[in-house]
């Protein structure tokens, strides 16, 4: 999950517009838009402040992380395909 997805999900779950979140958090609306689109990354503290402004909090914990190298490789390959090719590959796989 990206920080942008987290901010957007928190904002939408709180039924806030970007403007309303800007007013609540004291952050610039355009900057919130950049954070949500992941074109710029907020600091951890900023991320936490934004989520809290939506009425939520971040519950963080360290958990084991198993890298699924095969799965990650397939996803990377998929992302360099066009949606048309992704669809055709899936339909071909279904017929196997």
């Amino acid at each position: 999950m990206t920080s942008g997805m987290l901010i957007r999900e928190a904002r939408l779950r709180a039924s806030l517009t970007q403007t309303e979140l800007s007013e609540r958090s004291g952050r610039d609306r355009a900057q919130i838009a950049r954070w949500e689109s992941d074109s710029v990354q907020p600091s951890f503290e900023t991320l936490r402040d934004l989520v809290r402004a939506c009425g939520f909090d971040l519950a963080l914990a360290l958990v084991p992380y198993d890298v699924d190298e095969g799965g990650e490789k397939r996803l990377r390959e998929n992302l360099f395909r066009s949606p048309e090719n992704r669809l055709q590959a899936m339909l071909k796989e279904r017929k196997r």
Binding site: M1, T2, M5, R8, S37, L75, L79, R81, P83
Partner: protein, 167 residues
């Protein structure tokens, strides 16, 4: 008339029928995830239609063309008060979801959706990775956890290799 057997899944054919009737819709669900890059199989098309009266009339025309019939055997295809309308068509399964979990429907999803070319002259609006994750998470189903993890990975990989890949 009921179908003797399951038809071959032809999502392009379903989209063509929707486009011929000029229906406004956004693709969601498993097929949208595949189009956004996840590695999974799916055998149906899920859409969120615009709920304007004229669009619903057009949708009904497309469903006629597809010979769409409810899976539960009921005749009505009205969307009022319906969470999901599950239909069998001549070209495979079609689910119509007026307001997917965690969203406010078509207008909510339209903002971040992208239009993707799928070949054969078909271009469809596909829900964004973030919105697909939001919907999948809101369902809260254990069976969707692998798909949700893949969506998160797709978002992370996209961010790491840069946005706006020209495909």
């Amino acid at each position: 008339m009921a179908r003797a057997s399951e038809p071959d899944f032809d999502p392009i054919g379903i989209f063509k029928a929707l486009d011929r009737a000029r229906v406004s819709y956004i693709v969601i669900g498993g097929l949208a995830r595949v189009l956004q890059g996840t590695d999974e199989l799916t055998d149906g098309v899920d859409i969120v239609p615009a709920m304007r009266e004229e669009n619903l009339r057009r949708l009904d025309l497309a469903l006629d063309e597809l010979n769409a019939q409810r899976r539960d055997g009921k005749k009505t295809r009205a969307l009022t008060g319906v969470n999901v309308l599950e239909l069998g068509t001549d070209l495979g399964e079609l689910k119509i979801v007026p307001e997917p979990a965690g969203t406010r429907g078509f207008d909510d999803l339209r903002r971040a959706a992208s239009r993707e070319y799928l070949g054969s002259g078909v271009r469809v609006a596909v829900a964004s990775v973030g919105d697909l994750a939001r919907m999948t998470a809101a369902l809260g189903r254990e069976q969707d956890e692998p798909a949700l993890r893949m969506l998160h990975s797709v978002a992370e990989i996209e961010r790491s290799i840069g946005h706006g890949l020209e495909l």
